[in-house]
Symmetry: C2
Subunit: 188 residues, 2 copies
């Protein structure tokens, strides 16, 4: 990409306001490109994975989960945050196994994206998992995690988007990805 | 959707740890569905809009912007946070005008999604803007906002995704939406 001008903001000072189990919060004084100063509120997050898991009969595996930040239950693709030092593809397989009781013989990276670049550094790595088989023994969920597993065809996932039961960026992206793949296949 | 079990977490107590210009941070003690307790770190955000703006020759309007949270410059569709009491469609038009110098005769809601339901309540409303015309007089950006406008065909936007210059969820979703629309049109 051609660099036309420098848009960078330089850190003048940085204060850690909160250190949590999931996120840390910083307040930074920055110098803007025009030399003036401003404050930035920044949430640091370890990053996460999300998994578009497809069964052999092409159903999507979804998990229903209460999200305290939203004060409601929504339906998402299996996902979870990276543990320290853990490779994203390992986290993806672990979260799939813990949340759904399936494991996958095929795992392919689709893409990665920052979810809220305006205030947070959370990066979500999205994977496609195929050739699923049920685990003999279900893996334990985190002790504060409660989910309900659903298997739905693409058409039903689209209905869950319309009804706002599916209502988050990574899941919306994954479902649209599947729609696009099928539209491309139909074209051939 | 069929309700199979109650996954709800009840608030026991709630502490506001930070009140900022963009976000507030809360720490909540919650009662889990099994009766045990846990803590939730929750970021409150006013919500935002994002605009997939298409020129008459079907280019996408993008803005290059430094994101302090990421410590790098990325390319996004025009976006901005909701002001108090502002209707999302009004914010969408305002942000388009401020960031790109264009206004739109057609504005259509595509969808909305939460960006990080695990820790934040930020909801992004995504619009499609068409029939663009340049404003006679450019509107002022926020005083701490510096952006650079680009107009690119879909193929170039896809290259910017590969090179990770486009690297955020709303922009990735919007570009994939456009790909899907074009794949569907080609099918007809």
């Amino acid at each position: 990409m051609i660099k036309l001008k420098n848009l960078e903001e330089k850190t003048i000072s940085k204060e850690k306001l909160f250190s949590g189990k999931v996120i840390d919060l910083y307040l930074e004084d920055v110098e803007l490109p025009n030399g003036k100063t401003s404050k930035r509120e920044i949430v640091k997050h370890p990053g996460a994975v999300a998994v578009l898991a497809l069964t052999d009969d092409e159903n999507i595996i979804l998990v229903k989960q209460y999200r305290k930040a939203l004060e409601r239950t929504i339906v998402e693709i299996p996902a979870g945050k990276l543990e320290k030092g853990e490779k994203p593809e390992y986290t993806a397989l672990r979260e799939l196994e813990e949340e759904t009781g399936y494991t996958a013989a095929e795992l392919k990276k689709i893409t990665a994206f920052y979810t809220s670049p305006g205030f947070a550094d959370e990066l979500v790595h999205l994977y496609l998992a195929e050739q699923l088989t049920p685990l003999d023994e279900k893996r334990e969920l985190d002790e504060d995690e409660f989910v309900e597993v659903m298997e739905v065809p693409l058409a039903d996932a689209l209905k869950l988007m319309e009804s706002q039961d599916i209502y988050d960026a990574k899941t919306a992206y994954a479902i649209q990805y599947l729609e696009l793949q099928r539209a491309m296949q139909a074209k051939k």
